[in-house]
C-alpha cells in the first residue's frame, strides 16, 4: 500500500518537475536557437526550430572581438569582487544584528531597508556627481561600491535571519572558553552558515552581473564597460544584432551556471549540519 502511494507521488512530482522545467527553460532554449540563426530567420513564421543555415557566426563575432572579451572580463572581475566584499561586510553587520541588542538597532534596520527604496533612475544624477566627487568615475570601484550598496540590504537581512536560526550557545561557548569574538564569528558561525552565504553570494553575483543602468552611466570608456552594456550596444538605431545579443547572453551565462553547479553542493551539504542545531 505504502509502496504504491510512493510510486504515485513519484510520478506526480516528476511530471510537475518537467512542466516546471518547460516553463523555466523553453524561453532560454529559444534564445539558444536564435543565437544560431541569421538575423531575419529568427523572425520566420512558422518558426524555424533548427535551420540548415545553422551557423556559429554570432559566436564567432562575439568571441573574436577583443572589446567584447574585455566586457566579459570586467563583468566577472567586478561581480566576484562585489561578492567577496559584500559577504565580508554583511557577515560583520548581521553578526551585530543577530548577537547584540543596542540602541538604535531598529532604526538602523529600517534605514538599511529604506535606502534602497528610492528609484535608481532619480538618484542617477546626484549619485553620479558624488562618484565624480570621490574621483572614482569610470573605474571598477565606482561599480563595485555601487553594487555593494545595492546588495548589502538583502545580504544583511538574509544573513541576520540565518544567524538567528543558529543557536547562541554555539558561539557563546567559544567566548566562555576565553576565545575572541573573531574566532566565534569566523571559525564557528560562518562555516555553519555556508548555505546562507552561498545563496547570498549567488544573488550578489547575479545582481552585479546583470545591472545595466549604473554600469552605463558610471563608466564611459569601453575598457571599463560590462556585459549588459555590451549587449545593449548591439541595439543600433536602425537594426539590432539579435543573434549576437543572444550569443553574448548565452556565453555570459555558461560560467555563471558552472559556478552555480559547483556551489550547489553546499545546499545539500547543509542537510548534515542539522545535527549541530538545537
Amino acid at each position: 500500500m505504502v509502496g504504491r502511494k510512493k510510486w504515485y507521488a513519484k510520478v506526480v512530482i516528476i511530471i510537475a518537475l518537467v512542466i516546471g522545467a518547460f516553463f523555466a527553460g523553453f524561453p532560454v532554449l529559444w534564445m539558444v536557437r536564435s543565437s544560431f540563426l541569421p538575423n531575419p530567420q529568427i523572425f520566420a513564421l512558422p518558426p524555424i526550430w533548427i535551420s540548415d543555415t545553422f551557423s556559429l557566426d554570432a559566436y564567432r563575432a562575439v568571441l573574436t572581438n577583443p572589446m567584447q572579451i574585455r566586457f566579459f572580463l570586467n563583468s566577472y572581475l567586478i561581480a566576484m569582487l562585489v561578492v567577496v566584499f559584500t559577504l565580508i561586510v554583511a557577515i560583520l553587520a548581521s553578526y551585530s544584528f543577530s548577537r547584540f541588542n543596542f540602541k538604535g538597532k531598529s532604526f538602523i534596520n529600517t534605514f538599511i531597508i529604506s535606502v534602497q527604496a528610492v528609484p535608481p533612475i532619480t538618484l542617477l544624477i546626484p549619485y553620479m556627481s558624488l562618484i565624480l566627487f570621490l574621483r572614482i568615475f569610470n573605474t571598477y570601484w565606482a561599480l563595485i561600491l555601487t553594487y555593494m550598496l545595492f546588495t548589502l540590504p538583502y545580504a544583511i537581512l538574509m544573513l541576520t535571519g540565518y544567524m538567528n536560526t543558529l543557536p547562541k550557545d554555539l558561539d557563546e561557548a567559544v567566548l566562555i572558553d576565553g576565545g575572541s569574538r573573531r574566532v566565534a564569528l569566523w571559525r564557528i558561525l560562518v562555516p555553519t552558515a555556508i548555505p546562507g552565504l552561498v545563496s547570498v553570494g549567488m544573488y550578489t553575483f547575479m545582481l552585479s552581473w546583470n545591472e545595466y543602468l549604473f554600469a552605463l552611466v558610471l563608466t564611459r570608456t569601453n575598457d571599463m564597460r560590462t556585459v549588459p552594456v555590451g549587449i545593449n550596444l548591439l541595439m543600433g538605431q536602425h537594426a539590432f544584432e539579435w543573434n549576437q545579443m543572444m550569443a553574448m547572453s548565452v556565453l555570459g551565462s555558461l560560467p555563471v551556471l558552472a559556478l552555480f553547479l559547483f556551489f550547489q553542493r553546499y545546499f545539500i551539504a547543509g542537510m548534515t549540519s542539522g545535527s549541530v542545531k538545537s
Binding site: L124, L132, F137, G236, H238
Partner: protein
Amino acid sequence: MKKKLFALLTVGILSLSLLACAGNGGDDAPADEPAVTDDAATTDETPDDTDADDVAPTSDVTLEFQQWWGVELPEGFLADLVSRFTDETGIQIELLSNPFADTRTQIMAGAATATMADVVGLDGSWVYDFANQGAISNLTQLMADIGMDDSELSAQVQFEGNTYMIPATNFAYPMFVNLDILEEAGITDMPTTWSEFIAASEQVVANTDASGFAIPLEASSPHGVQNQYLSWLWASGGRFMEDGRPNLVGNSDLIATTEFVKDMFDNGVIAPGSFTMREQDMVEEFTNGRVAFMISSLAHLFMITEGAPDMNIGFIDIPVMDGYTGQSGMTVANWGLGVAANSPHQEEAMMFIEFLLSPEINSALVVAASAFPGNVNADPDYSASPPLFLDAFEIFQRNFAINEFTGLPTAEDLMRSMNEELLLFLDGDTATVGEMLEATQARWEPVFN
C-alpha cells in the same frame, strides 16, 4: 572613550580616501586610459603618448567622441576615419560608444555633471533641450572662430537663431515595396494616391498572407509618429507647425492624414502588434515577407537585401492625398554632431566636425551608412551600393527633405504624447479626429509658452 571613537572615524575616512585614490588610477586599466574626470576642469591634460614621428603634426589634445554609430557601420570604419584626422592634425580621438536608446539619458547625465564627451553624436529631436540647458555649444560662434565655411552644409539645426547641431548624414524615409507580394496579389500598377493605396493593401490582405502596411507605435521610442504617420502628411505637402507654434486643431491636411491612417487600421491592412512594434521589428516583418509596403529608413536596404537575397524590392513615391499635385516632402532623420559646452577643447572639437563634414570624408561616411551627405559638395560614390539605392536616391532628389520635429522643445515627448492620443483614437477611445487633435494640442501647448 572619545578617543577611540575619533580614531575609528579617522580610520574610516582614511580608508575611504584610500579606496578613492586606488580607484582613480590604481586598477589594471591600460596605461593609456585618459585622465578621467579632468576634462571637466580647466587643468591641462597630460598628453597620452605622443609617439608621432617628426613629420606628422603633433598636438597634446585628445578629444572624446561619443556616438552610437559604430554598430551601424562596417567594423573598424569609424576608427579608420578618425585616425585620418589624427594623421592630419595630431589631435587624438578616443571613440566612446553608447547604445542609441540611452544616448539621450547619458548626455543629460553628462551635461548635469559636466562629463560630456567633447564631441557628441546628436539626434535633431534633442537639440532644443540640450541647447536650452546650456549643455552644447553655439556652433555658429565656433565656426566663425575656426573660419569654417558653413555654405556647404546641407542643414544646420538651430536654437534661438544660432546653430547647435550639424547633420553629418541624412537618412531618408522612402516607401519600400515587396514586389513579390504585389505580384502574388495581382497588383500591377503602383498606388500613387491614398485611395489607390488602400485598395492595393486590401487586395494584398485578400490574396496573400501578408499585411499591407506597418506602423510601429511603441511607447519607449515614439519615432513612429514621425516616420510612419506624419510622413504621409509631409508627402502630401502638409505641415503641423505654423509660425513656430503647433497647428493641429482644424488642420485639414492633418485631419485627412489621421483619418486615412485610421481607415487603414479599420480595414485591417495594418500588420498586427502595431502598438508595441518598434521600427526594427517592422523591418524584420518586411524582410520575412509579411508586409507589402513600409516607410522606412533607407539605411535598412542593405540589411533587407542581405537577409532576404531572393526578395524583389522596389521603391515608390509615397502615395499622396487624392488630388494633391505639388512636390512631396520626404522625412529625414540624421546623425548630427555637436560640441559639449564643458569641453576644454572647443576649437579642436569644431575642427573635428569640420573634418567629418569635409566632402571626401563625408562621402565615405554616408556611403558606409547608406545615407545622403551632410555636405552639399560631397560626391559619394554609391556604385558599390545596391542599384536599388540609386532608385531611392532619385526619388529623394525629386522630393524635399523635411522633419518638423527637429529642433522643437522636448521633441521626443511631443511625439510621445501625440503617439498616445493617436492610439486612443485608433483604439476607439477618442471618438473623432477633432477631439484627438485638440487633446494633443492641449498637451503640446504648455511646452511652447
